[in-house]
């Protein structure tokens, strides 16, 4: 069973991973975006860990709702409302249970990913975070490690794709050949599930 501590560890592991990879994320965002993805997410997840420490939410749902709210208010770029919506909707779908099982989490995360799709109007194949998140949700039934692998492969697979949403889409065909920064950070988020469950 997954409790509030597990979800807290998921968020702190994501924050640490975003810290480590911030320069890489910003470098991916430089040729096709506005070169702020790493620093934006770093600021956002630092605010998430600070808020979780201060407010000590007691349920899995409350952890993710608080985290999502922080991302919406602190990131400053499109990834704020997108990741914020992902976590908030996932959190809301978990309700106020003190613990959830893997199946309930997988279902809730699917609700969150659907909300991201509705908010941004993107679909898999558009070279966005969905290209990592959708395969991850589909693999989640086989465990966190399988989901992490699916997300990482999905992110790498955005390289030959033409971006169809966001700043990168203004480049048209010139966006081809660049791995999508949002898909890459989404893969970090999914990989952090493995770290959270190992501890």
């Amino acid at each position: 069973m997954l409790d509030a501590d597990f979800f807290r560890r998921w968020m702190t592991a994501t924050a640490a991973s975003v810290d480590r990879e911030a320069e890489h994320l910003t470098a991916l965002d430089s040729p096709i975006g506005d070169a702020d993805h790493g620093s934006n997410l770093q600021r956002g997840f630092a605010a998430v860990t600070a808020a979780l420490e201060k407010e000590q939410p007691r349920t899995p749902g409350a952890v993710l709702i608080l985290a999502g709210r922080q991302l919406i208010s602190t990131v400053g770029g499109a990834s704020g409302p997108l990741y914020g919506t992902l976590l908030r909707r996932t959190g809301k779908a978990l309700g106020d249970a003190a613990e959830v099982d893997d199946g309930q989490f997988a279902q809730a995360l699917r609700t969150g990913v659907d909300a991201v799709m509705a908010l941004g109007g993107a679909a898999p194949g558009d070279a966005t975070m969905l290209d990592a998140l959708v395969p991850a949700v589909e693999a989640l039934g086989d465990g966190f490690a399988a989901a992490a692998t699916a997300a990482r492969e999905g992110a790498v697979a955005t390289t030959p794709l033409q971006a169809r949403k966001g700043r990168a889409s203004y480049l048209g065909e010139r966006s081809i050949g660049h791995q999508d920064p949002g898909a890459t950070s989404s893969a970090l988020l999914v990989a952090a599930l493995v770290e959270a469950s190992d501890e």
């Binding site: 208010s73 400053g76 770029g77 704020g80 409302p81 997108l82 908030r88 908010l119």
Partner: protein, 143 residues
């Protein structure tokens, strides 16, 4: 107000929020729209541009504060430039409790839509009419 009677509600004007990645763009378009609406318009218009740190970007806090500041009870029309400005307003609206009741994201060109929205709101038009007028600005061809 001394004349706070049942008629007062009809005198309430729709508020306009202008969200841009740039604080200067948001503030300048607000000035432009007020100016073109005619001097002395009472329409509440608030810019929400850039991040709280003064950089290019979008701030949910600035948007929420701007919306609260222009809410006179007749609704709030929010116009945005692009990308995270659109997504942040949509995310705030989806949460339900972050923006004043009767706040709408208006699908309109930023500059032309802002001018049209303020001019229309100045006539005392309701939120639906302000939204329709601003959206109609997409149809003003220039060539």
């Amino acid at each position: 107000m001394s004349d706070a009677t049942s008629d007062a509600k009809e005198g309430r004007l729709v508020g306009i929020v202008l969200v841009s990645h740039s604080a200067q763009v948001a503030a300048s378009v607000a000035d432009l729209a007020r100016g073109l609406a005619g001097g002395g318009t009472d329409v509440p218009v608030a810019p929400a541009g850039g991040t709280e740190a003064g950089e290019l970007g979008t701030s949910a806090e600035l948007i929420a504060a701007a919306a609260a500041s222009v809410d006179r009870g007749a609704g709030v029309a929010v116009l945005t430039d692009l990308g995270s400005a659109v997504l942040t307003v949509k995310a705030l609206l989806a949460e339900g409790d972050e923006l004043p009741e009767n706040t709408r994201l208006v699908d309109a060109p930023f500059v032309e839509g802002a001018v049209t929205a303020v001019v229309t709101a100045a006539t005392g038009a309701d939120l639906a009419a302000v939204e329709a007028a601003a959206a109609d600005a997409y149809t003003y061809r220039k060539v």
